[in-house]
Symmetry: D2
Subunit: 402 residues, 4 copies
């Protein structure tokens, strides 16, 4: 057993920390102030991306060493954590932001050379962005077994009809392609029921109904969260991603490492919040004492450290298992329950230490909290992941009892 | 001991419930959709107010029977709860929304006849609105003993210099008067240090720096939360409210009943959230069962009922004490700790039952949650109120030990 | 609405507080030290009972004014709370201890004059004690629908065969009668399936298998918690309590007020723990400060006060409903969930303030904690009571949805 | 980074698991039933110890490879976890039970050859047992800086006067030596104030006042928890352990690995409780379903797994740091806070699943719970350990702020 990261990770982490200090934190205020609510990313993003490329901090997430950095999940995890310190900027600046990351993974694994040339290459270069259209308003995200959007073959075309929402990034004009999941064979069992197609954003029949807010945030700078109506949207047969009817398997390939990334970024956000909490606790006075001298505040700081360290280890162990074993559904469910809970708790306490400033735009804390709270649903709510963990735990004893 | 409301309360409550059903809920969607982010209230508010007046549901909050409804705090409390079911609309529609309520209480108690004619009468008629400028960016709201804004006498004028924030409602043009608290005698002990003055919103030297957001919400429809710079703002001596140097006593007179109202509205919000949670639990299916059949969801519903009922009784008991005894600082601190905690918990679970819809604009839940979370600071953070409660508890034993 | 107890309650409460101070607390140490683990009550109990009778503090629990004090549930509740301050002694000293209280209620309502003369009179006089034999080892207490002990008619006798446990008090020789619940008609629906009989403790065929412990405590001074085997135990037909087949209805009549009493005693225990916590916090020094100066300790004290006050109001409201309406199953379930949770929390913190002394025999805290923890099962586990509360809550909306 | 135990650990763990299955679990019932409350260990212990020696599972805790197994802390940790599955038996059966483990570590590091021959050798052989006398009734265990027991030089002797409690194991006649910590130089700073001496248990002037209980458990089978009065107890100068005045440093050397062991055993106890919870959930029916089909029970099982896995990783990381770095005070404080909290939670849920059986002697759960609860004090209460963690966390930022 050994808890020390390897040399390549350590070296990249040092470079990334320098990049955060020199490039990212200094422009955070500017980035937020130039977000004008019109689904355009602030101009500074292009500069940040150029600098990240220059420093060799580009596409770190992609284990595929042809297109990406060739890092294992365990090696990338501590880097994802660092990007979580500035989650609205750093992941995208490094071309490591969802949903593009998962989409690039899908395209690198399953796309044809023509599809890769058209979509993967510009995505890898950060020239375009993409969206992933799976969640639907009328279907519980905890039980994706009953999506209703149809993807039907009609001669040489697929015809898409349905409604999607929470398609993150889709409202930005930089977004050029939507990966749409729909029902191709309604009578088949779930594993053969779904198909994925690549749909250019400007295709006729697509209506961007509205942006959805998360608490009061629209996340306009990164293209928001779209509700999209597909009204007999037609794409040629070559738009098929992978094999017809295999959409569910593709969607799941996307999830394991993606959840590790999500959780590690959350941990980075929690560290940021803890850092802000400590700074405030030392600098703010009430009743003649620094907040850091109040017992409740010290307890929050200690508990934050204890909880963050635990959950980080759990996520890293899951990453290690993904790298070595692949099939780790329960371990991934475990981190999906644990990481949002810890980070939400830490952020709540950090906000409390800041008082009213903590819920305003003057600190990143309210936005960080929303990220953590939201993660208690994204990719399945806590309740479903607990069920997955319990099922395996019980299965061990069920066998014994027979 | 007797847990049944009196007849007048019951009768007004029935009228208010009918008004909510017939007038408020039907326009909620329209109200939100016509909020255009420009600090103007949607036009429908005027109609709602006219109807509330017509139905005798106007100024219910004001115990003063000359200007208001003459209800005791205990009588008004269950009505405030009902308005919490639609907190962005109903309180204002009944002219029972803070900060105007507290301001009207101050003016009815301490203003001169001229001040009352100029400001109280139009406020009571709902023709204008007002703001209360006390909180400052550089001073912990948990320890108001060191406000820095100066209110200095200069001949026949007061000169105001300083910076305030979280002045709710001040960004709306309907707001015509600011009640400003500042230091008039820096060397005096706190109880003689502060003075309150009435400042017309358009006075020279006032800059409305920006609106503050709460978890992304700007609350523009009700005039937002302003940061305001006062740069040698001059008002005539007649602007003094009450007695010079007695600002702290005035501020505290405003707090007791105001906190009861806040807490009862919160309880109404929690009931709304519980109601939404039950509706969703019965109508949404996952894995072949209604959510209401899942054990975790049922536990949340049961716990919500148990917690809400407890905290309502605690608030009502505090209201009863205010009506009978007046000095109930610890009881008010107790409800300030308990009510936001309960309601935040209930709303969190309601959001979880709704999944992603629960954090979007499609339900009121995210906004309700923000109200509850915010109340863990407003009028003093939990930590300070716990200190107040603990101090009295310990004092009993300290006496015995001697 | 009115939160003030009536005059008779206040007067009895003053008398009872004096009795606690003068008679009960002074002998607590002696009582515990003379418990010799042999299922005999310490001799001092007889003196305490005589004094309670003398002071008119006897049988206060019994609403029946012929045999008891004639207090309503709401009037008795605050007195039950006071007895909770010394729960191993005071309830029994006042002849107000379960299971005798519930047994006396049953006998006063359903027993024949002969049965009353034989068992109720000496119970009311405190000359004998009784046990209630319902819970069985192989049956979940959360689902009593499948008791297995048989009570069969055989000529002029009933024959009892089966195994009971957690029969509190049965190991004491002062216990003279067991009220046994068993299946008389296995094919009938639950409401007609059970019968209750009165069984003299010395009847042939009864084996007292062992005493059960609760977290190491045997509660020997009050007769322990017995596991009892009934092997063809025969009693004459006149032993039938009430009507054959109506055992379930009788058992439920016993529960409502009994749970109010349980919860109020728990609240008294929590007050005792809070009192001890405050005394220790003021008198114990660590790191140069009294514990009361540590923020965490103050927070515990404040939260204890806030939680206790809330739950007491909830229990009193349920008592008021029982007095006025009778059928309050959900309200009783609500207090069964809320009261043990609050009191367990308070006791845990009190123990933490005492450190190792808090878990030893040097304070009553460990025993009090066990009472609270145990109440999360007794008369149904939390999970079942939450289900009851949720069911009614959902039923309201189910009706609307139709 | 690597989460796989090394080969030697794996091999010993397999042997230990076999030993538990074949030797320990089968005698658990017998062990408890033959504990007669007289401070003697049941006879079966000697057989278990002989068998452990035979299987090479003896003194595994001792890193010193001359006297012990030569395992690192990280290697021993997973073995300590396994012994936690039967904490009243397995640690002692392997000669790995506190306080003997810490005492043997002290003796192997600091004792003279004569002292080692007299005390260490028979301890290593399991022929005698020992106690550690540090905690005092009048001094907060959170702040050991003010012990009052005196150890004074008088000619060729040390004279010990004072009162100790919670001296675990001291009531057993197998215990032959007490390691006593006392004040030798009251005027010195704490690091030079204390001295340790070795005191034969039968020395004149020692009074074993009583056994202390933990909740209702006396732990008589392992020698209980003694309160001991030392009345001018005289021992020769050769009884000094280490250097006069260096008692505090010695006491701390004992703590780091000891806390790792404590925490790993707790984790083993939690795994045992989880295992019992799963078995019961699968085998017990209520309302026509196995408990495992109830959502709340499944959630508990899942949360237990998630929490246990996290805290185990945290403890293992601390062990790794001890092996590599030694000075890891904050990491050890972190696990002292985290491990008892997790395990107490798991055991509480397991008890709830068992209902009343869970608090009786029919399962080990009540005893396991008491172990976990108690660990929130032993070796310093949570509050102190949180302070240690917070202090370091804040120190990082304090430096930056300068």
């Amino acid at each position: 057993m050994d808890f020390v990261p390897d040399a390549r990770t350590e070296s990249l982490r040092a470079d990334l920390l320098a990049y955060m200090d020199e490039c990212v934190y200094p422009v955070e205020r500017q980035f937020h102030d130039t977000s004008d609510g019109t689904w355009h990313r602030p101009a500074v993003m292009a500069e940040l991306q150029a600098e990240a490329k220059r420093r060799g901090l580009w596409n770190l997430f992609l284990p595929d060493s042809e297109h990406g950095a060739g890092l294992s999940v365990t090696q990338y995890a501590p880097l994802a954590e660092v990007t979580g310190w500035s989650p609205a900027i750093a992941p995208e600046a490094l071309n490591c932001a969802p949903p593009d990351t998962g989409n690039m993974e899908l395209l690198s694994m399953f796309a044809t050379p023509e599809q890769q040339a058209r979509w993967l290459t510009p995505l890898l270069d950060g020239e375009i962005r993409s969206a992933f259209c799976m969640t639907e308003p009328e279907v519980s995200s905890s039980d994706p077994g009953n999506l209703t959007t149809r993807i039907e073959r009609d001669g040489d075309e697929y015809v898409i009809t349905g409604r999607k929402w929470w398609s993150t990034g889709a409202l930005s004009e930089d977004c050029r392609v939507l990966i749409v999941v729909g029902v191709s064979d309604p009578g088949a069992p779930p594993r053969d029921r779904y198909t994925m197609v690549l749909v250019p954003r400007e295709t006729a029949g697509i209506e961007f109904v509205r942006g959805l807010s998360m608490f009061g945030f629209t996340h306009s700078a990164s293209g928001g969260h779209a509700e999209i109506a597909f009204r007999e949207v037609r794409v040629p047969r070559e738009s098929l991603l992978g094999v017809e009817g295999q959409g569910q398997a593709l969607a799941q390939a996307r999830l394991g490492p993606g959840r590790i990334h999500h959780c590690m970024r959350l941990i980075g956000m929690a560290e940021r919040a803890l850092s802000l909490m400590c700074e405030r606790a030392l600098s703010r006075q009430t009743f003649g004492h620094a907040l850091a001298d109040h017992g409740a505040v010290r307890d929050w700081i200690a508990e934050s450290r204890v909880r963050i360290d635990q959950v980080r280890l759990l996520v890293l162990r899951a990453a290690d298992l993904i790298d070595r074993v692949r099939a780790v559904r329960e371990e991934v469910s475990a981190i999906k329950v644990a990481a949002p809970a810890v980070t939400e708790w830490v952020m709540d306490k950090a906000i409390q230490v800041y008082g009213a400033a903590g819920l305003s735009q003057d600190t990143p804390l309210a936005e960080l909290w929303v990220q953590a709270r939201t993660m208690r649903f994204i990719d399945g709510p806590d309740e479903v992941h607990r069920m997955v963990v319990a099922r395996r735990e019980l299965a061990r004893y069920r066998r014994q009892l027979r």
